[in-house]
């Protein structure tokens, strides 16, 4: 089909290059935001963190839909009702999906990849996973469906945080 009309001939907007900044061709301002927060973990996540400090992964159960959920919440989001009980889950699970990541969160290149994964936790309903890292594994050997187990920090070093689990390793 023949173009009827060049609809967007010359659009506004000026692209800058690095050297425009380096050579001072454009002026800029700079601001380091002083934005700090201390978030309340609340009932559900608070107890989850307390469990991690003890070396236990806790989940919650809804009797209406029968799901066992992790991370914990005080309500079942599908039934919209309070959860019924707290349950201790295993610290083992199955890799649902993973990645081999060669850049850090602030976009620095790394040689050995970080291996984030969604890990379905044993004892929770199928498909109930948490995000964590894999370790003690050759990146080439990681597979979806791989069985893994939590590697905990020593009890004395645990502080009630998701990082109380260092990573999950293959079993």
């Amino acid at each position: 089909m023949k173009p009827k009309k060049e609809t967007l001939p010359l659009l506004p907007g000026t692209g800058l290059k690095d050297e425009d900044f380096k050579k001072g061709r454009v002026l800029t301002t700079r601001w380091d935001a002083d934005a700090r927060y201390g978030w309340d973990a609340g009932v559900a996540v608070g107890r989850y963190l307390a469990g991690l400090k003890e070396g236990v992964i806790l989940g919650v159960r809804c009797h209406k839909c029968g799901r066992t959920m992790v991370p914990p919440r005080i309500f079942c989001e599908w039934c919209f009702r309070n959860i019924d009980e707290w349950v201790e889950l295993k610290d083992t699970g199955t890799v649902n999906t993973f990645s081999l990541c060669y850049v850090t969160w602030d976009v620095r290149r790394i040689k050995e990849p970080q291996i984030p994964a969604v890990i379905e936790i044993d004892g929770a309903s199928p498909g109930m996973g948490i995000m964590h890292l894999l370790g003690e594994v050759d990146p080439k050997q990681v597979k979806v469906g791989m069985r893994v187990k939590a590697v905990w920090k020593p009890a004395a070093e645990r502080e009630g945080a998701i990082t109380d689990i260092r990573y999950f390793k293959p079993i």
Binding site: P3, G13, Y48, L49, M69, P71, L100, T104, D106, A161
Partner: protein, 386 residues
């Protein structure tokens, strides 16, 4: 349905890695271009809506307010809607309900994104999208979630990287004809597959570039629309859905929230057989696999079947179902909210036959635009028709 609402004008800035213009200036340019396209003046606009993704990019709190004068909102009813990456298409829905309600006859929709303000790299701003207690301490990279989703998608359906990468080839080359495009040179399949691995299976050229840019469209109620143009493009259906925030509890192989949003939009538009009734699609493609994922969610093909459509050339501009004829985010660039609205603008041009070199070969009377965002969680869908 309430009153019929049409898009009567669209305009945009160029998408660039770092714009000299401030966010306000980008918004002003886009709004001016859109008004100019349909020969309207700002005083004919009853209300203004704005779409823009995280405030952290600009480092401006209450960014909606900050951008208001640039967006032409001074002295007008003005609101900013927000659904993360889904915002660009949602902003049209937001404008649609302003007009469809009967409270407004015209509405200017402006989407702006200036990602380059965040230093040293805008991607680091995404750390703060993760749950502050259960995820952020792991120092997640934005790429993780895409890589996790892409890997799940590939694993579930046994898909090959090279089939997915064809989407990037198609879109980046399509974009060479787009005057707003950030991409400057043709790309081959080999280029994509040999590009640097960022977070396997995601490689650099699987990803859309970060951009600064702005897009605007003008909406009008039926009788007003017909006075403005003899080619109004009707908003036939709108849909959106936000899935649970517990993303690690969902199967990432399929975007059910997109399906939910599409069903809503199709119902409103009277579309019962999308594969035959949709003639052109602009699904959200910040990563190449996302176009495929979304084609499936939009029910334009079966689950796991989208890669084959690309292989078979169905989704090319001269194919049976042209997909991202604009060049998409992969090619034109990804100023988040503006990129979503660019897709709606593309359908506007395509359905009016004004897409120039990008004009698709087949005759198109109806198209669908879709955006996606949050924690792989939200689908926003607009069905347009002439």
């Amino acid at each position: 349905m309430g009153r019929r609402v049409a898009i009567v004008g669209a305009g945009m800035t160029r998408f660039v890695r770092r714009a000299q213009e401030t966010g306000k200036e980008l918004a002003f340019y886009a709004a001016s271009e859109a008004l100019h396209y349909c020969g309207m003046k700002l005083n004919q606009i009853d209300g203004v809506v704005l779409g823009s993704a995280p405030d952290t990019f600009d480092g401006v709190h209450m960014k909606g307010e900050y951008l208001s004068d640039g967006a032409g909102a001074w002295g007008k009813p003005y609101m900013r809607c927000y659904v993360g990456g889904g915002t660009g298409v949602f902003s049209v829905i937001h404008g649609w309900y302003h007009v469809a309600s009967g409270a407004f006859d015209t509405c200017l929709v402006v989407c702006e994104e200036k990602m380059s303000s965040f230093q040293p790299h805008p991607q680091a701003a995404f750390l703060t999208i993760f749950d502050h207690t259960t995820e952020r301490p792991l120092k997640p990279n934005l790429l993780w979630i895409f890589a996790l989703e892409m890997n799940r998608y590939m694993n579930t359906y046994g898909l090959r990287k090279e089939d997915i990468a064809r989407v990037a080839v198609k879109n980046k080359n399509n974009a060479l004809d787009h005057p707003a495009a950030q991409i400057a040179a043709p790309v081959t399949l080999d280029d994509i597959l040999k590009s640097e691995v960022l977070a396997w299976p995601v490689q650099r050229l699987d990803v859309s570039p970060v951009s600064d840019g702005a897009v605007a469209v003008v909406l009008a109620e039926e009788s007003v629309a017909r006075r403005i143009t003899d080619k109004p493009v009707w908003i036939e259906g709108v849909g959106w859905a936000l899935d649970t925030a517990y993303w690690t509890n969902r199967d990432l192989c399929y975007p059910r929230y997109v399906e939910e949003a599409a069903r809503m939009a199709y119902r409103m538009a009277g579309v019962t057989d999308p594969r035959h009734q949709i003639h052109v699609a602009e699904p959200y493609d910040p990563f190449d696999y996302k176009e495929l994922h979304h084609l499936e969610g939009l029910m334009l093909c079966g689950r796991g079947e989208a890669p084959q459509l690309t292989v078979d050339g169905v989704t090319r501009r001269d194919g049976e179902l042209p997909v991202c004829p604009s060049g998409g985010l992969l090619g034109v660039g990804n100023p988040i909210a503006a990129a979503g609205l660019m897709k709606v603008a593309e359908l506007f041009y395509q359905l009016r036959g004004e897409a120039g070199k990008r004009q698709i070969a087949r005759k198109a009377k109806r198209g669908v635009a879709q955006a996606w965002g949050d924690l792989m969680q939200v689908g926003t869908v607009v069905v347009l028709g002439v």
